[in-house]
């Protein structure tokens, strides 16, 4: 039940790749399974440079459909096919992801060696797997507060189904592209790890205009949400040197770290906290 979990940043740049940073992708390794969040162009090559296996990827979640988060999917799918994958690949994303995957498969992937299952999920959807849930927006806090939620397939998820273990689960929050907002605070509340975008260091007006966050804003979310660890990602290609971004964040949240491509972090249980027993409603 308590699988080893690690996060590998496959791409930490926003908008377009630089020599230093590839565009967005984040791999979560949990036991032998890899779950991918976003798949920007070049993700399959980042896998090749890392210690994790693209073939072990069972599920891909897309936060949104911007090019720098999705354009690595066709190549990754083709390479899985060329390597004779047979396991199904599950893909989850916002409305529009079905059309994107179907366009992807029409050219240049007329036939694949494995089945692909695509699920469109809306804001607030909870997707349940055997030992964990993925929440697209702030429903997780309800589970933590002991409330049942409705899952994507219509079934009701009771907190003890996913949180019922004497030792509480680990919680990772990944924001995708966003402005700072209360919903992020709620979603990230007491996460073990928050991965927040910090496209800009200080240009908050510009950030707001283009729907992004500054480093200080990301740190503000981390602080308000009382997360244990904050990683910043999706840096604008303008930042050759990430230090100004990290410095800005650390003024607000001590220990904030700018993630570098291929950085890997173990997601640990809180060491000093007593196991928390969650009870149903």
């Amino acid at each position: 039940m308590h699988e080893y979990m690690e996060l590998t940043f496959l791409g930490t740049g926003g908008s377009w790749p630089s020599a230093r940073r590839n565009v967005s992708s984040l791999a979560l390794k949990r036991g032998s399974e890899v779950v991918l969040f976003d798949c920007g162009e070049g993700t399959q090559r980042q896998f090749q440079r890392s210690d994790i296996s693209y073939m072990a990827t069972s599920k891909i979640f897309f936060t949104h459909l911007h090019g720098d988060h999705i354009l690595g999917l066709p190549g990754l799918m083709q390479t899985m096919d060329l390597n004779e994958r047979e396991d199904p690949l599950e893909i989850y994303g916002p409305p529009g992801i079905k059309r994107y995957v179907s366009l992807t498969m029409s050219r240049p992937l007329p036939g694949l060696s494995y089945p692909v299952e695509v699920t469109e999920i809306d804001d607030g959807t909870t997707v349940c797997f055997d030992e964990y849930v993925v929440v697209a927006r702030p429903k997780f806090s309800k589970l933590q507060q002991g409330e049942a939620v409705e899952a994507e397939d219509g079934s009701i998820v009771e907190p003890e189904q996913v949180l019922g273990d004497p030792r509480r689960g680990r919680k990772i929050t990944y924001t995708g592209d966003c402005r700072p907002c209360e919903a992020s605070v709620e979603l990230a509340y007491r996460s073990d790890v928050l991965v927040h975008e910090a496209t800009f260091a200080v240009e908050s007006e510009r950030a707001h205009e283009v729907g992004h966050s500054t480093a200080a804003q990301a740190a503000w979310i981390a602080d308000k949400a009382e997360v244990r660890q904050l990683f910043l990602t999706h840096l604008s290609p303008r930042y050759e040197d990430p230090e100004p971004v990290e410095d800005e964040a650390r003024k607000v949240f001590e220990g904030a770290e700018v993630a570098e491509d291929l950085d890997t972090f173990t997601v640990k249980f809180p060491p000093d906290e007593p196991p928390e027993v969650l009870e149903g409603p």
Copy 2:
């Protein structure tokens, strides 16, 4: 008229990328213009690592529509747009390229800051520009032999229009994916540079089966065609070490070189040859 020309290998791997090699793309810099041949996934990032500018790319030619040669186009086009390109982008490729570009532009590129002109070209088509021609198959030899050829727009191209200078032009041949064939010998005849695929070192049966060439076969083409320089590209990801590939080729064509990603070579005029005057028919 005699612009400085250099070839930069942006990707030298076949099928899928490895840590060492990205998939196919070859940039030809001629004066201030960059002409790209193939654009595999990750090409825009290879540009960022090189000294050449993706924004200076005026034309992209696709040899064929396999994923490892085309999947970098959407990201490159998006990045040109994000950087407010205004110059038109010309795209040439085999039948099917129009559909691919139109799918690319429907998602995630609803509107672009620059016009895109796509031309489908068939085997044997000659595309004429002010100071050079691009030939999709063996028509160039006709021009060299003093024969006129019909261009893609129906106009007749006389040899002196493109070769009429007292000093002969430079000739570069790039094969795309192929088995060894007489057409390649004809096309590559007396090229200053031949860029030939060598997906395999020695497995000629496997190479034939999947429509590719071995290193020795590529070298055989170079030798028969009397080219001045041979670069091997499109190596299978199985070759961590390119030495076996290069060794096999050098048994047949001395001086054959396996190109590495970001290698740049100047395309020189033949140093010891007297200028060749070509006359019309």
